[in-house]
Structures are given as structure tokens and as C-alpha cells.
Symmetry: C2
Subunit: 306 residues, 2 copies
């Protein structure tokens, strides 16, 4: 039995920061925010909060739309690079907080902006192979814990947030074939030794070069043409990278949007944040999603409405 | 096409420590080492070394027995809770070090002593679902980075080491059905805030209570009786836990052994270290493996010789 996406919910913490109030501090102008990064606002967790708290926020929002019988949850996966602790996995902490049942399998995956697409494949193939019919896929990566507030390359870009995707047989969308890729040679250009360090130009060039190629590849893998896709949802790295990839692929603005101006680059949560809204529209029959970043790593697939 | 285990290789760093030389320091006697922990020696990485260095050591040892065409590797997974950095994933660093190809998918899994069994399921189902025919599964968890040398509860137990398992169609062993379990309520009893902290009694009681039950469960899942299993390989948490579980299940000593006296508790590497030797013996047709620890989390499965 093939599994897919039944529901998605998201969560933003309360502390809202306006990047327009930081123009002088970073010696930038309105155009930098409006046209280059596109990120007008960012949200930050409280110091006392952790990845598992963000996940719980997303779960409470999921419950508002959907009654979840926690005893039915057979798998709980968390995608994060900023876990509460390195030991144990965040999914075990959620297992306690959600009072999941003893047979529920729990593990964390360490990936960045490619993490949601990757994990859709990892969790559905794991669940199908082990005949688990209902699972929760969380993304939560509080980069504010590792960002140097004075670093222009990162401080104006990344926001905190989380998502949860209910994976089940009662799916709205099923995944098609996946494409995965890695360029480990560049890993040093996006790394956290003490604080996050990013060579923005390197990440941009990598994305602008490889992601359009990968999108064409995943179209072919799924026997679809560009104009058979109703919506392209890309990792929201910046407005500029979204505009650049859209231009390269010659896709209409309404079909490849920038969603993140109100909350910033949410790492592995950026695609589910966009998806949460878009899957409510039944016209979105074929959605192509693509995530790319840390590693360098990327992954794309098709979401097909049922 | 079902995938399985083709080869396993392991690696220990050079620095060898004798626990017998630490009896006075910790106010313990020979019996504590010989009968309770069972760990006579431990190995420690150099300060400059990281998880990826341990993985490379295991890979070089794999290459001694088996010619690997790196261009054929379509998937690289690392199980660790002590990555080189939290960003990026260790598998991306290995991607660079091994010069893997651009289509190779790479991700890390955060799990402790249950990690190898879990990851066998995760990587094979992921690879089968994405039609990837050859992959590398690494385990490497250098706990010496997080251990307080003066903490009797941890300092005498954990050693550094790594393993690599070649997953392919040319398999020697295929996995059967898996059992997974989690008791998040206990996660606080084995946690790393700054340094590793362990409530040994809690971990022991959890293992002694749940693992025999899980072994019976996984036998049933695979339609086998206890006497149809040629070998039980359990996570090597201590000699005492191995002896206790063996007694509870009333299994012969030759069929459920303690392997780790010469190198200690290697976390996710402890099962592949034992397997490396045992899969050379063609008499080991049905091997039951079970990992348990951090989370609290456990996983068991059958390995069936082909």
C-alpha cells in the first residue's frame, strides 16, 4: 500500500524581527531586503525553547484541523541539525511529550534544506517496508541557536519554524519518483563549527547551476512535461535564487512563487510551509518540489494529487 | 529486488587503554571488569580525529577484502550522534573524502545502540524504493568526545570505533521482518547535555525487561522458533546485560556471546563488529540481531543467509 501526505501543519515562534529595522546596522538598503533576500521578517525561538518545542507547536496546529489518535502513530521522524541534545534523538523526546505508544519507531535525520524532500522518501519507504500505516514527519531547525547576530551573510536570512506532515494511506498527495544529489566537495561553504558560516555566493551558484537541471531530470523521471506541472515549490533560499531558477526554466510567476517574505529561510521547513497552503487548492494536481542546500545536497520529486 | 549485506568491515583507532590499570582510580576490583562490564580494553580517537576519520578507517579496511568501484555507490548513510559538525551531515563529508559521484544520496541518522538494526531497515527500504543497487552504511560514534574521564558510569564502558556495511544485490545475508520500539519516557536516563550522563541501572533494567520480550516477538514475526536460530548477536552494552538476557531466554552460551571484552561498548558499531566475524562462518544461517539503548530505543531483526 503506497503512503502519502494526508495533512501538513506548521508553527512559527512568537518573537518577530523586522529586517527593515536593521538596514543601518548592516549598511543595506530596502532593495536588499525586497529584491535580493526577499525576507522582510524573521521569527526566533525563546532561549529556553528547543527543536522539540517547535515540533510540539506544529503538532498542536495539526490537531486543530485533524483529530489524531496518537495510539495509531507507528513512526515519528524528525529532520534537524539543531537537536535539543545530540543524545538522544529529538524524536525520542517527542515520543515522551506526545505519549506515543511503545511500538512507535523513532529516529532523526540530519539534513538541511534538502531534508524535507529526502525525508518524504525515507519515511514512506521505511513505513511501507515495515507495514506501518500512520506516521509523523517533523522538520524543525532552530538556526537562531547557531547564528552570529552580526554576520550579514546569515543573520538576515534564517528564521525559526517547524512543520509536521501526517503520512498515511488516506493521502491527498502521493510522491512520484525522486532525484537525489550531493556535491560534498563544497560542504565547507555552509558549515557550523561554532557559529554558522556561509559562503552565499557559492551556495547561490551551486543552486542556480544544479537545480534547474535536476528539475528537468525529475520531470523526465516522472514522464511529465513542464507544462503538465501545476505548481513548482522550491526551497525558499532567497527571492533572488527563486527568481533566477524561474527565469532559467522560463516558468510563469504564478507557478513558481516566492512564499517566504514574512518569515525567512526556514531550512527543511520551507517547503512544507508553502505546501500547507497550496494543498488546499484542488487545482494543484501535479506539484514538483525541490530542496537544496547544506551538504551540498539536493532532492526533488513530484507530488501527485489523488 | 531485495537488497542485503554483502560485506562488513570495521575500524578501531590506535590509542588503547587498559581498564585494569584504572582499578584504583575508580575503586573497583578485577571482578567489576571481568564479570560486570566485561570491557578489559577501550580504544580512543586522537583529539584531531572525527567521526568521518573513523568511517574512512573502516572503508579502507573494507577495500582490503573487496574491490569497491566508488562510481557504483548510490547511497551513503552514517549513523552517529557525534558528527564532525552538526552542519553538514557526516555523509556529505565522506562524499567528498571518498569522491563519490554526484547522484549518490547522502544522509545521517541520529540513533545510539539501536542504530545499526534500525538503519539496516532505513537504508535498504530507501534504496529499494529508489532503485539504488549499491550503498554504504557507516556507524561511527566517538563517545570519547563527550565522556567525562572521571565518571565511573561511562568512562569505563564506551570505546571508539566504526563500521561500514556494503549493501547490495550480491548479498550474503538478507533481512527478515523488523521490530522497533521506543520508551521516550526514559530518555533523560541516557543523555548528553555537556557530557554524557547515564543512569546505568535504568538502562540495565529497561534492557533486561524489554529485549527478551522483543526477541520472542521478532522470532514470531519471522515464523521461527528459538532453536532455529544459529546465533543471537545483541548490542554489547556490558557482559552483565548479555549474560542476563541469555539466562532469561535460556539460550546456550555458544549461541549468544559476549564479543566486546577487547574493545568496549561501541554504540551503533557493536553489532557490526560481531557480525564481521560471524558472517564468515557459513553455518550461521539464521542470525537474530538486536540493538537497544539511547532513547530508550530498540530494534531487532533476522539475518538470513543466502
Amino acid at each position: 500500500m503506497k503512503l502519502g501526505i494526508e495533512e501538513i501543519a506548521t508553527y512559527l515562534p512568537k518573537n518577530k524581527i523586522s529586517n527593515f529595522e536593521r538596514l543601518q546596522e548592516f549598511d543595506i538598503n530596502h532593495d536588499f531586503v525586497n529584491k535580493k533576500t526577499g525576507f522582510k521578517y524573521l521569527f526566533k525561538i525563546d532561549k529556553k525553547d528547543q527543536a522539540s518545542d517547535l515540533c510540539m507547536g506544529a503538532f498542536f496546529n495539526l490537531e486543530k484541523n485533524k483529530k489524531i489518535n496518537l495510539d495509531d502513530i507507528g513512526c515519528c521522524v524528525v529532520v534537524t541539525q539543531n537537536p535539543d541534545y545530540n543524545i538522544p534523538n529529538v524524536s525520542s523526546i517527542l515520543h515522551k511529550k506526545l505519549k506515543l505508544n511503545q511500538n512507535c519507531s523513532c529516529f532523526d535525520i540530519s539534513l538541511g534544506c534538502s531534508g524535507y524532500v529526502y525525508s518524504l522518501s525515507i519515511i514512506t519507504s521505511f513505513m511501507e517496508s515495515n507495514k506501518i500505516s500512520k506516521g509523523l514527519l517533523f522538520t524543525a531547525d532552530p538556526y537562531s541557536k547557531i547564528i552570529d547576530k552580526n554576520d550579514k551573510n546569515t543573520s538576515l536570512l534564517f528564521g525559526d519554524g517547524a512543520s509536521v506532515t501526517l503520512i498515511s494511506k488516506n493521502k491527498k498527495y502521493e510522491t512520484g519518483k525522486f532525484s537525489f544529489g550531493t556535491k560534498g566537495e563544497n560542504y565547507n561553504d555552509l558549515i557550523c563549527k561554532n557559529k554558522l558560516s556561509m559562503n552565499g555566493r557559492s551556495v547561490f551558484n551551486f543552486s542556480a547551476k544544479n537545480i534547474p537541471v535536476d528539475i528537468i531530470k525529475v520531470l523526465k523521471l516522472n514522464n511529465l512535461k513542464k507544462d503538465e506541472i501545476d505548481l513548482f515549490i522550491l526551497h525558499q533560499g532567497s527571492k533572488l535564487i527563486i527568481d533566477t531558477i524561474r527565469d532559467k526554466l522560463n516558468i510563469d510567476k504564478r507557478m513558481l512563487k516566492f512564499y517566504a517574505s514574512e518569515y525567512g529561510n526556514l531550512i527543511s521547513s520551507s517547503i512544507p510551509f508553502a505546501l500547507e497552503k497550496e494543498i488546499l487548492n484542488p487545482k494543484n494536481k501535479n506539484i514538483l518540489i525541490s530542496g537544496f542546500g547544506v551538504g551540498f545536497s539536493w532532492s526533488s520529486t513530484l507530488l501527485k494529487r489523488l
